[in-house]
Amino acid sequence: MESDEDNMVDANDVESVDDDIYSGELEDDYYYSEADGDGGGEDGGGDDEDGPGYDFMAEAADDLVEDSLYWRQQQSYSILKEDDINQRQDDAITRVSTVLSIPKVDATILLRHYNWSVSKVHDEWFADEDGVRSTVGLLDRPAVHVSDVRELTCGICFEFFPRSRIVSAACGHPFCNSCWSGYINASVNDGPGCLALRCPDPSCRAAVGLDMVNMLASDEEKEKYARYLLRSYVEDNRKTKWCPAPGCECAVDFAGGAGNFDVSCLCSYSFCWSCTEEAHRPVDCGTVSKWILKNSAESENMNWILANSKPCPKCKRPIEKNQGCMHMTCTPPCKFEFCWLCLGSWSEHGERTGGFYACNRYEAAKQEGAYDEAEKRREMAKNSLERYTHYYERWASNQTSRQKALADLQQMQNVHLAKLSDIHCTPESQLKFITDAWLQIVECRRVLKWTYAYGFYLPDHEQGKRQFFEYLQGEAESGLERLHQCAEKELQQFLTPEADRPLKEFEEFRTKLAGLTSVTKNYFENLVRALENGLVDVDSNGSSSRAAGSKDTGGSKGRAGRGKANVKTGRNSDD
């Protein structure tokens, strides 16, 4: 039953959302494509001029079915819990032991030496068994022959012992039980190097394996040794890594696959398998590490950005940001509504005015008049810091927003869902659309955050790409704001005790939020793919080709490249 919820958003639902709340062309684009994905034809008025699939969203939605399949095939990783790791390790050991006809202890030593690659062990062994044996210290005959005497001298304490109390590795060098214990325990306490332990005799390279450790080490050290062996399977293996989330004990086995390295652990943390930073699609690992380096280099300059309050642009009183979305409302009597990022009036943020959401765009301060050389340099330095500040602030704000959304999601699951369920007499299972919305917000904040690192490193001379990128990013930003605001603020009115509003209102809210979630999800998935493709469908002087491809004589629509990257720019400056 629950899965039906996912599919409930059909074209009609979306349309009703559209009719209820939105008007204006930008939104039509959003919803048009959604409807188009479902077969099209049912869109509200005003969309017909677009024709089928002629904007970014619609085109992308067409590819969606194909592409999600594609990604699933690429997504060849599995999450391993401790039991799974043990299981895999045992399997590998058993295979090597069987194929090479050697004891499991020896197979373990071999596998560890060759980073747990079964095929590498096989290759090396069958190419040169003697060489491998001597490298890893697996002797096939004793190095010393102990004559048939009743007592032997321990090579460490130099005491005499009856043979029964003397132990040797495969080499035969005699040491007493307690010296072995001391030797092994000390080595285990020295760290994971104990996994490559050899006979104490300096001239001898005979390996000391798990069997001797289990026979001679004390319990605590046996335990530690087993840990090291398990860790080695994950850490020395080129195909596995630990999940970097603090406290998480899962490992990820990554079987390869081009391009996409994002993995999601069972603990819900997503990270990049390649660089182990948090998941950062659509930007690549190199950009992430450059960006992180840049941030730490500039951290002193940027501290103020992380401050949680800004003066209201109208009344100048400090307003604290305690919500996730960027739409700020000053306290009464001012009540000025503004954008946290650009401090502009919210009413000028696109939707109402039909304008363009542009607070994601960085515009360098115009240089006017004549500068002398020193002044020019100062200005350039100031601009470069300003430019970085612009991107960093937006990157950081989305990060903060994401943290907030995560906390809100928790609060929702722990407290509010039960409350909503009571107030509106609705089973919690039917409130899944709210959790879905929050999960989507968290994911979108992450993507949006990284698009600012993407934008920072997007070459300035690629004008067409930059404009296209900023358009897509602006749309993403405003779409996500709508979703975030709906989940955060509009939900509130259904949470108050006196909220025994008509069921119809709650159902309308459901439709709206679910619709926004689905649309935003599609938009962001397509955004990620477009950026990962490096916006290849835009040639770098995109402005002219866009104008040429426009069907709309009014110039508000444009085509770029081969049709895939069609956008309606909403700006005419360069057409």
Partner: protein, 157 residues
């Protein structure tokens, strides 16, 4: 504690018994502390240390022989792997390559071998290491010989 003392006592008895077994090494246990030893070693022949007698000081840890003894030269020596001021020695078996099967006697032998075969790539004495690395074997030898004569020659009369 008990094990290290027992082991050192074994080594002590061995040294007493085999006093003349290795004429190049003379190990002496401190009068009051079995964890403190000194050794006199002869500079190996065909090296700039030939004819010198060098004194080593041993500080043996309680975890001996699971942990290596600390050894340093008390006699000044010009050698790439010995700190010129402190006498500290850079030798793998005194660090990560230590084995509990080594003894103070075998450590002395390893140090004599190090005197004959310096490792200029891991220098504690950069001047000395640089001479060897730049190929100035003569320069190294004459410096080393000079310090052997100045610091390590048995007093005459």
């Amino acid at each position: 504690m008990q094990a290290s003392r027992a082991r050192l006592f074994k080594e002590y008895k061995e040294v007493q018994r085999e006093k003349s077994a290795d004429p190049d090494i003379q190990l002496v246990c401190d009068d009051s502390n079995i964890f403190k030893w000194t050794a006199l070693i002869k500079g190996p022949s065909e090296t700039p240390f030939d004819g010198g007698v060098f004194q080593l000081a041993f500080a043996v840890p309680e975890q001996y022989p699971l942990q290596p003894p600390q050894v340093r030269f008390l006699t000044k020596i010009f050698h790439p792997n010995v700190h010129f001021k402190t006498g500290e020695i850079c030798l793998d078996i005194l660090k990560n390559a230590w084995s509990p099967a080594w003894t103070l006697q075998s450590v002395c032998r390893a140090i004599i071998a190090l005197m004959a075969h310096p490792e200029p790539d891991s220098p504690l004495n950069c001047d000395s290491g640089n001479l060897l690395r730049s190929g100035d074997v003569r320069g190294y030898q004459s410096m080393a010989r000079m310090y052997t004569r100045l610091a390590a020659s048995p007093k005459k009369g």
